[in-house]
C-alpha cells in the first residue's frame, strides 16, 4: 500500500491539508485507513476548518479502497470450473497417483515430509520429469542442498531422441538457494514472470518444487524475536498466493524431528502446519522400499491407504 503522498498528484482533493490532517491522526498510508472508522474520521474532520473538503478526500480514499478487493465467485461456478478443467498433475508413479486420486493438485501446496533418505528428493525429481515430459509444462526447481541430479531426471524420462530430451530438460530450471531472503527474491521474480505470461497456456510454470524448505527456515526459527516465524509465514503465504493465482502446483519437502514418546513428526512446528493443503509422509520400510501415506488432504481420508515406492532397481516402480 503506497504512502498517502503518492495519491496526491492524481487526486487534487488529497492535498497537503488533507495529508497533515491524516498525519495528525497517525494515518500515513492508504493501509492505515482500513484501521479507522469512517464516522469517527468524519467527526474529527468536523472539528477542522473546511470540513467539506476533508470529507470529500475521505470519501474518495474509501472508494479507491473498495475497488481493490478480489472478485468473488459462487459455488456453482467453482464446481463447473473444477469439472471442466483437469487441474491435476500426475507424479510419474502410478501408485502415488492412485493414492492421491490423480496426483498433485494445481493451485495447492503439497508438502512431502519424512526422515533422511526416505525418497523425498527422488519424488521431487520424478515429479519434475513427469511434468516437463508428459504435461509439457515449465518446472521451477529450487534446490537448497545441491541435490538436483540431472542424471536422475534424464533417467526418469527414459530412452528418447536427443533433441526431445534437450527440449524437455530445458523446461526444468534449477535455482540454488541458500538463505530465506534469496528464496523470497526468487519467488517474487517467478510471480512477476507469471503475471506477464498469464495468457499463454502452454509452457507456463506448472510446477514449483522447493527441496527442502526446512533447511532454509530452521536457521531462523526459534530465536528470541518473532522475525523467524514471521518470515516463515510470509513465505508460506507467498507460496499459496503463487499456487492459487497462477494455477501452479507447489511441492515442498520438509524433514522430521522426534516428537513425544519416540514418535516422529514433521519439522517447522505448529505455525507451518496450516500452510500446506496436502501433507504426505514418506517412511522407509526395510530395504530400499518406501511407503507414502497421507497426513492431511482437503478431500481425501487421512493415512488409511498407502503405496510403495521401490527404487532398488534404480528406477522407480510401484506396488499398491
Amino acid at each position: 500500500m503506497p504512502p498517502l503522498k503518492s495519491l496526491g498528484p492524481g487526486f487534487p482533493v488529497i492535498d497537503s491539508d488533507f495529508q497533515s490532517f491524516c498525519a495528525s491522526l497517525g494515518i500515513l498510508s492508504v493501509e492505515d485507513f482500513l484501521l479507522h472508522d469512517l464516522d469517527a474520521l468524519a467527526a474529527q474532520a468536523d472539528l477542522r476548518p473546511s470540513p467539506e473538503r476533508l470529507k470529500q478526500g475521505l470519501a474518495l480514499v474509501f472508494t479507491i479502497i473498495e475497488s481493490m478487493h478480489q472478485p468473488w465467485r459462487n459455488g456453482m461456478e467453482i464446481l463447473e470450473d473444477v469439472q471442466k478443467n483437469k487441474r491435476i498433475l500426475s507424479t510419474g508413479c502410478e501408485g502415488v497417483d492412485s493414492l492421491l486420486k490423480g496426483g498433485l493438485h494445481e493451485g495447492h501446496v503439497t508438502e512431502l515430509t519424512g526422515p533422511s533418505s526416505s525418497g523425498k528428493t527422488q519424488f521431487c525429481l520424478m515429479a519434475s520429469a513427469e511434468v516437463a515430459y508428459k504435461h509439457k509444462g515449465l518446472v521451477t526447481y529450487i534446490d537448497t542442498g545441491n541435490s538436483f541430479s540431472a542424471k536422475r531426471i534424464a533417467h526418469s524420462i527414459g530412452q528418447v531422441d536427443k533433441k526431445v530430451l534437450q527440449t524437455v530438460m530445458n523446461r526444468i530450471i534449477c535455482y540454488s538457494v541458500y538463505d530465506i531472503f534469496t528464496l523470497l527474491a526468487v519467488l517474487h521474480e517467478l510471480e512477476f514472470r507469471l503475471k506477464s505470461q498469464i495468457c499463454e497456456r502452454d509452457g507456463i510454470a506448472r510446477l514449483l518444487v522447493i527441496d527442502s524448505i526446512s533447511s532454509l527456515i530452521t536457521p531462523i526459527l526459534g530465536s528470541n524475536g518473532p522475525q523467524g516465524r514471521g518470515l516463515m509465514t510470509s513465505t508460506g503465504w507467498l507460496l499459496k498466493k503463487v499456487a492459487d493465482e497462477y494455477g501452479t502446483a507447489v511441492l515442498v519437502s520438509n524433514h522430521t524431528v522426534s516428537g513425544n514418546h519416540g514418535t516422529t513428526k514433521p519439522a517447522l512446528g505448529e505455525s507451518w502446519k496450516v500452510i500446506p493443503h496436502t501433507r504426505l509422509l514418506l517412511t522407509q520400510v526395510g530395504g530400499s522400499n518406501c511407503s507414502i501415506s497421507i497426513i492431511k488432504h482437503p478431500s481425501l481420508e487421512n493415512a488409511t491407504s498407502f503405496s510403495l515406492l521401490n527404487h532398488s532397481q534404480f528406477c522407480i516402480t510401484y506396488k499398491v
Binding site: 527422488q122 540431472a150 530445458n170 540454488s176 521474480e189
Partner: protein
Amino acid sequence: MEVGRLPISAAQKGKLISAGYTTLSSISSLSPTLLSRDLNISETDALEIIKHASLGGTMDDCSSSRAIIGAQTAWDVLHEEESATRITTSSVDLDHILGGGISCCEVTEIGKITALTSLIQLAVNVQIPVHCGGLGGKAIYIDTEGSFMVERVLQIAQACAVEMSTSYASSHNSLPPSHILMQPEDILENIIYFRVCSYTEQIALVNYLDKFISEHREVKLVIIDSITFHFRQDFDDLALRTRLLGGMALKLMKLAKKFVLAVVLLNQVTTKYTEGSFQLSLALGDSWSHACTNRIILYWNCDERYAYIDKSPSLRSTSAPYAVTSSGIRNSVSKCQQILRTQAT
C-alpha cells in the same frame, strides 16, 4: 509487506513500517538524508536500506534477472555433471559405487568413529595433477579433535608420489621429468591446516572460508574432522544448536556450489534406542541428517572394512569393501572381490 523481505534487522523493519514505508518502491526513490531523519537512524544505515530496496525493486523490472540468481536449465546441469572430474579414493570398488569418486559441488558426510586414513587419502588425491586424471587442487583440513597426524600424511604422500611416477613411467616408457614429478613435500605444502577448539571458532572459520577460498582458488576440497565434536558436549540450548548447525550446513553447501569444490564432513557414530533395540546412527539427530548431499557409512563386517552409501540423489544404495594399508586406502584383498548389492539393514 514487501519490506519484510529486505535483509535488514527487525528493529529497522519496525521503524520503516511505523513511519509508513511498506513498499520497496516508496523507499528506493528517497534520499538517504530524508530517510535517516524519518526513521531517526544514521545516514549510512539509511543508505544501506535504500540500496537493498532498489536491488529488490529492480528484480521485478528486469526480465533477464535470471543471471543474478544463477539459475540453470536441467540440460546445462546434465552436461556439467557429465564433464565434472571426481576425487578418486584410490580403491576401485569404492570409486565404482561412488560413480567415479567424491564429486565436487556436493557435501559428503562420512560416518565413522574415526576415518583419518580416508580423509588424508582424499586430501592427497585431490592434488593429483590434471594430466594424470585428477583435479590438481589444494585441500583445506579443519581439525576439531586434534587427530591429524602429519607422519601418516607423509607416509600416504610418499606412496602416492611413487605410484604417480611409476604410472607415468609405464605409460611414457621413461622416467618423468623432475618438473612434473610431485614430491611428498609438495603434497604436504598443498594441505592447508586449521585447528579449531570450540564451536564459535568453528562457525567463525566456516564464515571466513568464503573470503579465504576467493583468494586461494586452487582449493578443491574442504575436510572437516569432525563436524559434530564441539556441538555434542555441554550444549545447553538445543534450539540454538539446531539453528547454528542449520546455518553452518547452508554455508558449506553454498561454498561447495560457488567454488566448485567438494566438502567432506566426518560425523561420529552413536547408538540410538528405537523399537526395542540399539541401532547405530550418526550424531546430532534428524535435523542434521538432511544437511548433506551424500552420506557414506564406514563399518566393519567380519574383519573386513565396508563403505555403504546411505543417502545420495543419484547413486544406488550399495556397499563396497576396501582396505587400509600403510600406503593409504586401497582395494580390498579379500577373496570375494565382487561388489555386494545388499539391501540396507
